[in-house]
């Protein structure tokens, strides 16, 4: 895959992940650029990678961690971050509410699994964690989200009935 094809295929995934984690769109675009610059410099190696998307997301994640370390200003994922990432349609508040209850690592895992369709192994490599840790965090996050879904649905139903 040449660089132009790589960029056009995966830029949305890289942008989506960074926008999910950061509020400032200019910083997000800078980090997208840094990620793809790193990809360009390692284009030969990238040809051998099983999942270019997982590899690019791992690079993006490392760039993000570096940026946050430089800034010393770790912005927790608040509702406005999520709103910025996903737009502001009222229905999206539903999921924002649920994700706000999770720790940041769990949110990242949930995002990777459900939004980007990464495997546990790919997420483990991306986050530099053992696969078992990713699995157990995912279990916990799911449990919370299931609970929220069940509760949310019944509240929603009640709201509609009133």
């Amino acid at each position: 895959m040449d660089f132009a094809a790589l960029y056009s295929e995966y830029v949305d995934a890289v942008y989506g992940y960074l926008a999910f984690r950061l509020r400032d769109k200019e910083v997000v675009e800078d980090l997208v650029q840094e990620t793809f610059l790193a990809a360009h410099q390692r284009l030969d190696r990238l040809q051998e990678v099983a999942s270019p998307k997982a590899w690019l997301l791992a690079v993006a994640h490392n760039k993000l961690v570096d940026y946050l370390r430089r800034q010393q200003e770790h912005l927790p994922l608040q509702e406005e971050n999520l709103a910025a990432a996903a737009g502001t349609a009222p229905s999206r508040l539903f999921i924002q509410e649920a994700l706000a209850q999770l720790a940041e690592l769990e949110r990242t895992i949930v995002y990777g699994l459900y939004v980007e369709g990464l495997t546990y192994r790919e997420l483990a490599e991306m986050l530099g964690l053992p696969e078992g840790t990713v699995k157990s965090k995912a279990h916990y996050a799911r449990k919370r989200l299931y609970y929220w879904l069940q509760e949310g649905s019944s509240h929603d139903l009640q709201r509609r009935l009133c």
Binding site: Y7, L37, A86, Y111, T119
Partner: protein, 112 residues
């Protein structure tokens, strides 16, 4: 909470197509035979649907802008590398520090 812990994983794997053949067979059997698994599957579908909304695309204008900035940076790096190696072999040793000062002041300035 009525679902079994491992059912959630199995349901997720079934939806994302990441199960091995044996697991897939088991999951499909459970769909037909175990209402608890059916419940886990329903929750997974609902969760996936909710989370799908978080998928964000980069605005086309930003995509083009970042791509052209990348091309500029890549070209500049190639130019620096080629020019640097050409000069390294052709310039007299004494002139080398002058090139480095030039490189810092001009090329870095261009990047800004």
């Amino acid at each position: 909470m009525t679902y079994r812990e491992d059912y959630a994983d199995l349901a997720w794997g079934l939806l994302h197509g990441s199960l091995a053949e044996g697991e897939k067979r088991l999951a499909l059997q459970l769909v037909a035979s175990d209402p608890e698994f059916g419940e886990a599957l329903k929750l997974e579908i609902a969760l996936a649907k909710e989370l799908e909304q978080l998928k964000a695309s980069m605005p086309p204008a930003a995509k083009r802008q970042v791509y052209s900035a990348l091309q500029g940076t890549v070209a500049q790096e190639m130019f620096k590398a080629v020019l640097g190696s050409v000069l390294q072999t052709t310039l007299p040793r004494l002139a080398w520090p002058v090139w480095q000062i030039f490189e810092r002041s001009v090329l870095v300035g261009e990047q800004l």
